[in-house]
């Protein structure tokens, strides 16, 4: 076993212990390697923020997807397709307090100079971790009255902040 592999193995056992116990720092011994159990956090994204498909009808308007995934469509638009809120699972040491931050709005572009903005909202601004925790992110898309048809893409950032 070379040095690199050795390190990976130690890291593996450290994380395994951390996951199994969810404990804060403590010391243990593992053969020749001394390991410290680290408080850890894992963030997984299990669904996307989907607005479905929007057909431009008599004018502009907004399409909102709540943090529960429900759609509100302006009467001037025709909305079809499935909508979902983005879901993020957070797992870490029980009882830890974490904050959640995201931008208030983002810009989507079709790559040809046409833009749309969407506001972003989260179901929680902080969590006290209890074992199976998650938060959801919804949004509201502002479709212009003369919005050019096409495929619009954008990104939004979400961070789980430890204090």
């Amino acid at each position: 076993m070379n040095i690199r592999m050795m390190k990976a193995a130690v890291a593996g056992s450290v994380l395994a212990l951390g996951l199994a116990s969810g404990a804060a720092q403590a010391a243990t011994a593992d053969g020749t390697a001394r390991a410290t159990i680290l408080t850890q956090v894992a963030v997984t994204n299990t669904s996307d923020l989907q607005f479905g498909t929007v057909a431009i009808g008599t004018g502009g308007g907004s399409v909102a997807v709540s943090t529960a995934g429900a759609r509100t469509c302006a009467t001037t638009l025709v909305c079809t397709g499935a909508t979902t809120a983005a879901n993020f699972n957070v797992s870490g040491a029980t009882g830890m307090t974490v904050g959640i931050s995201h931008p208030g709005s983002v810009t989507l572009t079709d790559g040809s100079g046409n833009n749309m903005t969407a506001t972003i909202a989260s179901s929680a601004s902080s969590l006290v971790l209890a074992g199976s925790d998650s938060f959801r992110v919804g949004g509201s898309l502002n479709v212009g009255a003369t919005q050019v048809a096409g495929a619009y893409a954008g990104t939004f950032t979400v961070t789980v902040n430890y204090q």
Partner: protein, 271 residues
């Protein structure tokens, strides 16, 4: 023995990402807080817990706590001299890593403090997040006279990296503990005051007379030096609210690994 522990990790990580077929970027970070109070550096472990390879970027950013306890991002142009100093003092590598599923990588963190650094607490926040793959809009998403929308989340974790120099002291006090009811929703709210040259960090605990187990506990609560008072509220269920109401002792304690010292304690009647 070592092999079997590694196998446990694989098993747990597998259950973590079995929830859905998703864009890459799920991540695990440990530890969730770093304090450097000497010349020695440390390591943080980043693990790809996704089912596909992903590229992660590690960066430093500045955040300031507000009176509600939110950590607001501060652009480098708006940094105070102490914040700019903190950014300059921390060295870290690697800053960009490609990881196979379940491959851990340690990120080394070092401290390069000038000899004449004034005593005090300095802080940055280390951000770990995946660089998303460009997600092509497939032909099925194209709609005549319509709009198709692809919003890709870029998600990650920030942990504080704190540098302390000198003998720094801080005290805190707990006040205004109460239950706040908004419709069906109940929160345990309180106000934390802090004085001194450093932050406080620990757990908030509510003890009821005659009970040895805390009726409520929240860990990982910091009050950073940029605030002298922060409000904090925890969403709780109705049963917990009923258990908390009445006479109680509220404690703010350091984490056990930091000594477990009592930072503040107060006795009150929670209403």
């Amino acid at each position: 023995m070592r092999l079997s522990k590694f196998a446990i990790l694989m098993g747990l990580a597998a259950s973590a990402w079995s929830g859905g077929a998703r864009a890459a970027g799920d991540l695990l970070v440990a530890p969730t807080r770093v304090v450097l109070d000497g010349a020695r550096g440390t390591e943080v472990i980043l693990n790809n817990i996704d089912s596909v390879p992903a590229t992660y970027r590690v960066s430093l950013e500045l955040r300031r706590m507000d009176a509600q306890g939110n950590l607001d991002e501060i652009t480098p142009e708006n940094a105070t001299p102490a914040e700019a100093q903190a950014l300059n003092m921390i060295t870290y590598a690697p800053r960009r890593v490609e990881l196979a599923p379940n491959q851990p990588q340690s990120i080394r963190i070092g401290l390069r403090a000038p000899a004449d650094l004034p005593d005090g607490e300095y802080r940055v926040h280390m951000l770990f997040r995946a660089i998303p793959d460009a997600r092509p809009v497939t032909e099925t998403e194209q709609v005549n006279n319509g709009l198709s929308i692809a919003l890709t989340p870029i998600y990650g974790v920030t942990i504080p990296v704190i540098i302390r120099k000198g003998a720094l002291k801080a005290t805190a006090a707990i006040g205004d503990t109460r239950l706040v009811r908004t419709g069906d929703h109940v929160e345990l709210a309180m106000s934390l005051a802090r004085e001194g040259a450093r932050s406080t960090f620990g757990r908030i605990r509510v003890l009821k007379p005659g009970k040895s187990e805390p009726a409520f506990e929240a860990r990982g609560v910091a009050i950073y030096p940029e605030v002298t008072r922060r409000n904090i509220s925890f969403p709780i269920d109705a049963a917990t609210a009923a258990a908390l109401a009445g006479p109680a002792t509220i404690q703010y304690l350091e984490e056990p690994e930091a000594g477990g010292r009592m930072i503040a304690e107060t006795q009150t009647v929670i209403k």
